[in-house]
Amino acid sequence: MGHSNWPEWIYVAVVIALLVYVGAEAWNIENLIDHAPEDAEIIKVTAQQWFWSFEHADGTKEIGELHLKKDHAYKFEIHSKDVNHNFNIPEFLVLMDAVPGRINTVWFSPNESGEFDIQCREYCGLIHYNMRAKLFVEGS
C-alpha cells in the first residue's frame, strides 16, 4: 500500500456498525410479527389461475371476496392449485407465496374497517394483472 489507510478502516467500521444495527432491528421486528397468536382464526386461502377462494373456520366459503371482523386475529393457510401465486393485502402488509404442494401461513389482525384490495403479487400467467379480490373488514 505504501501509505497509511486508517480512514478507510474507520469508514468500514462505521459501515459494519450501521449494518449490525439494521440487522438487529430487522430481526427484532420479524421476531415480533412472526408468531401468530394462539386464538387466531384459521382461514384457508386457495389460489388458482386467476382467482382467490377462501374458506372460514366454520366452513363458509367465499370466492373473490373475504369478510373479516375488525380486531380479530386471522391466520391464513395459503396454498395454490396450479402455479405459484402470491397472496397480498397491501394495506395490511400481508404477503405470502401460494405454492402448489405447500401450505404457507401468515397472520394479521385488521385494525380498521372498510374495503381493501387483495392482489396477486407473483407472476402467474395471462391474467396475473387482474387476479384481484376484495377484503371487507366489518366493525366490531
Binding site: W9, V20, I33, S109
Partner: protein, 85 residues
C-alpha cells in the same frame, strides 16, 4: 488493529439498548399491529439511508465542485509530471 473495537463499542452503545427498547414497547393483551411495526422499521431505515446518502451525495457534489480542473483553486497533482499515471 485498534479500530476493531469501534464496531464493538458502537454495538454496545446503540444496538443493544435499541433491542431492549423494542422489546419493552410490546404491550400484552392486544394483537401486534403488523403494518405499523413494519412501516416504523421502514422509516427508521429510511432515516439512516437518507442521512448516509446525504453525506455521500454531498461529498460527491462537493468533490465534483472543488476538484474540477476549472476550479480556480485547482492545482496540478504531484503525479501529473511523471507521465504514466
Amino acid at each position: 488493529m485498534r479500530t476493531i473495537w469501534a464496531p464493538i463499542i458502537l454495538i454496545v452503545l446503540f444496538a443493544t439498548p435499541m433491542i431492549q427498547l423494542v422489546f419493552a414497547s410490546e404491550t400484552p393483551g392486544e394483537y401486534v399491529n403488523r403494518a405499523q411495526e413494519i412501516w416504523n422499521l421502514f422509516f427508521r431505515m429510511m432515516t439512516i439511508a437518507f442521512v448516509v446518502g446525504g453525506v455521500i451525495a454531498g461529498t460527491i457534489v462537493w468533490q465534483v465542485w472543488r476538484f474540477r480542473e476549472s476550479n480556480p483553486k485547482a492545482k496540478p497533482t504531484p503525479y501529473e509530471d511523471k507521465g504514466d499515471l
